[in-house]
Symmetry: D2
Subunit: 341 residues, 4 copies
């Protein structure tokens, strides 16, 4: 069982079928096809708000193009130290935005906290053109450490952003897992909470390679589309991106997939605890961070589990990621099998 | 029949099968899978030269990442005015390279000519840091106007590049069509002719979204991979890119597809000539540029043909593009049907 | 006599005195001093329009920071092939603007012509995000080939810009020479003609190192100041920049200096013609372009003249530049001396 | 008495004289003059090492152009949180380098410590293209909090850089104050300690606007000069930059000026301590950080002193900066006058 990452998973059957369905005939390129044209409506319905949808192939592209519409080349982006944009996207943010600077701060489980954010923004003396002024705040939902912001938590951050006149961006590479965990309308943790733009992730949760930039102010579309083209992220056979996305939200597939991942994480947490593991963070979505004695870690590897050590949380810390295709029955069966050993 | 672009085509069956084959189980992300690992060997065999292969999703990414490894932020790239990098990629070249400047010149059928290139490079006074020094020459094979460079023509350009100490880049968005037309080993029009890096196109010729950056000096791989990640072009489920590419060159599928497109272009040229059209450029690959009286253009549209007017070649000029899925029998049948009308 | 360039001249006495006057005591840094604070008022009076003044040390900085406020990273700047921004500023325009592309066209004596500009803008098909949309037009006054736009000519270009919704930028490295030649209010060839921003040159005309960015819409000041700081062009001892500028426009020193340069050019043109030289362009400001037989060129060099050959205008073409310190009496005396030889 | 900053000072008489000396006649532009040509030799002698000297007008330009020669667009620069490049240069580092990222760490008095640096570099897991790899370490001498690295301290940092294969850059905006404090050869705290490039500051210490980029590997000159031109920092009347620099190091003027500033700081420290102030950091160069009761701060202001509060060191913290023109006798006299009050 592979818990190394949700990126190791294949495309799920429904999205595979959608890709196959696009293999039957010709269609206009660069988004001129019907399925591409349908996305704005579909996502506006999903979010209960008029949105502009700009699909791209990767999370880095989605994050950085979104940020390009929210910050100037002279501005700063407040984020968590653990944020993917800060730790895992090379120098992409500066590259796309023309120089905007990440301003990392701390918080539990890779979450920003409204009070700490407020303190940071307040204490950051504005020294005019010399210093970098924060123009945007970036949160990840669910976070890089598997935590989920509640609607109130996002709302509190949004209120601080409004008070200080900052934009709010959400990296939603695992947005589906957060919504599945919260069981709330997507609107409640996005535009209603003050989010200006969202990377709505598909790849980790069953798609091949698609993330949707969701702009809650559709007037930002033109710049996002220019930034997309300029960075080589406009696909000629755009319908294959659009087809993945359309299938992904059709019949709530995205939530079905995320629910499996989240449930598998709970089952896996039970197994790990049963083996003597100690959860380092409360399991809320599809990532588990657990302390394991060496012998147990080895035992799990011997049982065929794949997972990474996570040294930033300690020498005995490990990360397990479940996904849309995690087999909960198999996890439970393995738990039973390992229990007596 | 849709001759608007080869970008309107769907994925071909063999590549669809390769994508579907990746939908069966988990595999390492970010290129750690077996099919990704196989590409260097496969392409090195194809080109009879050790190469580094860096797959990306779009032609703009392939072109611009390649160029990033070949020019400095202070340098120039000599290309044809009609070059895709000059006319159809927004400001991507400057964005990726950090400022390198396109230096467009002219030539027949969007081809650079060795003599004109030599004259240009010789006449371009080097005024030190004030002026932009050409560091690279870029050709497109086949060109944006459907022409094909012979091995001798590329070789002559390569010799000029060597003489003036410039790098040589080839945009091969339709490289397959050129090789199919020339019926020569790919080596003859690339590294043997002095090409340093090639965008090996897949998307227009049957793939979904994949272009391979082929670096004939594998030492450039590290920078290309950094530039790829930094620009958001490293796919997490990299095997889907790699799978397309592997299938694309397996059993010479790329050439089979291109041969169909080229043959269809010849059949279509016969039809168009038969209708009174005048070829504006000799049809060599899969693009036709033809002058048509208004009545004939309308007649063809009435017969269900889709194609674009091409005003840069004249008021009655049109472009027709054939592809891997063009139905030659149907073209011939239509020719017969239209002949008497 | 050195006619190689107006950049070879020293600082003129009045500006030297202004620099010396700043050497007496402490004053606030970064523009907080009195003389810096006086510039907006002084230049607003000079131009009979509220302007924002942002001083920098070089023409490249003035041009590129101005352009940064006028174009996006995705846009184009229509200019003449001979424009300094196109030919003599390395890749600075792309560097400052984040990628904006120069779109050079032709015209006599390095001047853009309204009709040709209109044709160019009209013919340039907008292909959406694929192509680079011109957002700005850049003219140089006086031009790199010594020509001067009349108020009507600039006005006609400004009207085209307005019609096509483009910004208009003026590189005024030799703006003083143009105004001296035209003997018109500066307003007539700037904001009244539709110019949005101007590089008001000082260095070539008697200053040490100062050019003023003149923004006819003061709302652009904030971005210009951010771009200035970000590019390292905000001087800590800003009063030395400001002091040069204040002295430069005080008592019309800028025009006095330019008038001497222009008159010297006329005197020199007489000398050159007398020697058998043929003016290649009508002398309008302080640059002469002249065809000289080899023997005459040598004779002039033997007489102590320094000047450059100018191969882009022909094998026997030369450029002579006069300046604020050119000695008209000496030129006339030399003319007499050389006449009989 | 103005202790707000050393940037408030005028040009010192010797440099004023050097500027005036350049006002007598014509000379080649862009560094073709004799004084510009003399700098490499003069600085190579000063540093007892062959160096390339590239003069610019500002510290931000000197720092960022230096860094451009030391890091790639994908790399990181380890520096102190308080570093000027991190806190006071807007987004200039990313702008010049094409995206390189500042990686700030802590240390006493704005100094990096070798042990902490080693720990940081060791702990920073290399995750390939995903993460930003530190390529360079940047120190400031003397630091932004007035501390001076000893030769051993710089040497220890240089050894760590060598061990981890990182470049070492020194921001020497107040390099003269450090050398004056250490009374050591400049070589001992630069190339002998492993420094690759240095911003040798002039402006704060008596010049008008000049900083010398000192490249201890002269092979980096070409890139530095390209980066200088591309960023608009090549002055046409370059001799005015060069003249300032030549005068600045002639007869050890730079050290004479720095010694006055440092001695004035000691005298001022005595005054402040006498008044009940508590030094927050040991005064080593020309900056003092002191805690003052409100009444004393007001008393000093009433006595005509100008200085800034420094909230990052506490609510009662203040910074006093002395300079080349600080009047030590006046400070001592004021001390006596204030003593009894």
């Amino acid at each position: 069982m592979n818990f190394a990452s949700d990126n190791v998973t294949p495309v799920c059957p429904e999205i595979q079928a959608a890709i196959d369905a696009q293999c039957q005939g010709n269609a206009p390129a660069y988004g001129g096809d019907d399925v591409s044209a349908s996305l704005d409506r579909a996502f506006s319905d999903l979010f209960d708000h008029e949105v502009a949808v700009v699909p791209v192939s990767t999370g880095t592209a989605a994050n950085c193009i979104s940020l390009t519409t929210l910050v100037s080349p002279y501005g700063g982006i407040v984020c968590h130290h653990e944020a993917h944009i800060n730790e895992d996207e090379s120098t992409a943010v500066a590259h796309f935005t023309g120089g905007a600077k990440l301003l990392p701060i701390d918080g539990p489980a890779a979450k920003l906290e409204a009070a700490a954010l407020s303190t940071y923004l307040e204490s950051r003396a504005d020294r005019g053109v010399h210093s970098v002024t924060p123009e945007c705040v970036a949160v990840t939902q669910s976070t890089e450490l598997g935590a989920v912001y509640s609607p109130d938590e996002i709302g509190a951050i949004g209120a601080i952003c409004k008070q200080f006149n900052k934009r709010l961006f959400m990296d939603g590479a695992r947005f589906a897992n957060a919504v599945a965990a919260l069981n709330c309308p997507p609107a409640d943790i996005t535009w209603k909470a003050g989010v200006d733009a969202l990377s709505f992730g598909g790849t980790k949760n069953g798609a091949m390679a698609v993330e949707a930039i969701i702009l809650f102010d559709p007037a930002r579309r033109a710049e996002a589309e220019q930034a997309r083209k300029r960075s080589g992220h406009l696909l000629s056979k755009h319908r294959y991106l659009a087809g993945q996305l359309a299938a992904y939200i059709d019949n709530d597939l995205w939530l079905k997939n995320a629910r499996n991942a989240n449930s598998a994480a709970q089952a896996l947490a039970t197994l790990l605890t049963d083996q003597g593991g100690q959860m380092l963070l409360a399991p809320q979505a599809n990532e588990l961070f657990v302390a394991l004695p060496d012998t147990i870690a080895q035992k799990l590897r011997d049982a065929g589990m794949l997972f990474y050590s996570w040294p930033s949380l300690g020498t005995n810390a490990y990360r397990f990621v479940t996904a849309w295709n995690s087999d909960i029955n198999a996890i439970n069966a393995l738990k039973t099998r390992l229990h007596g050993l």
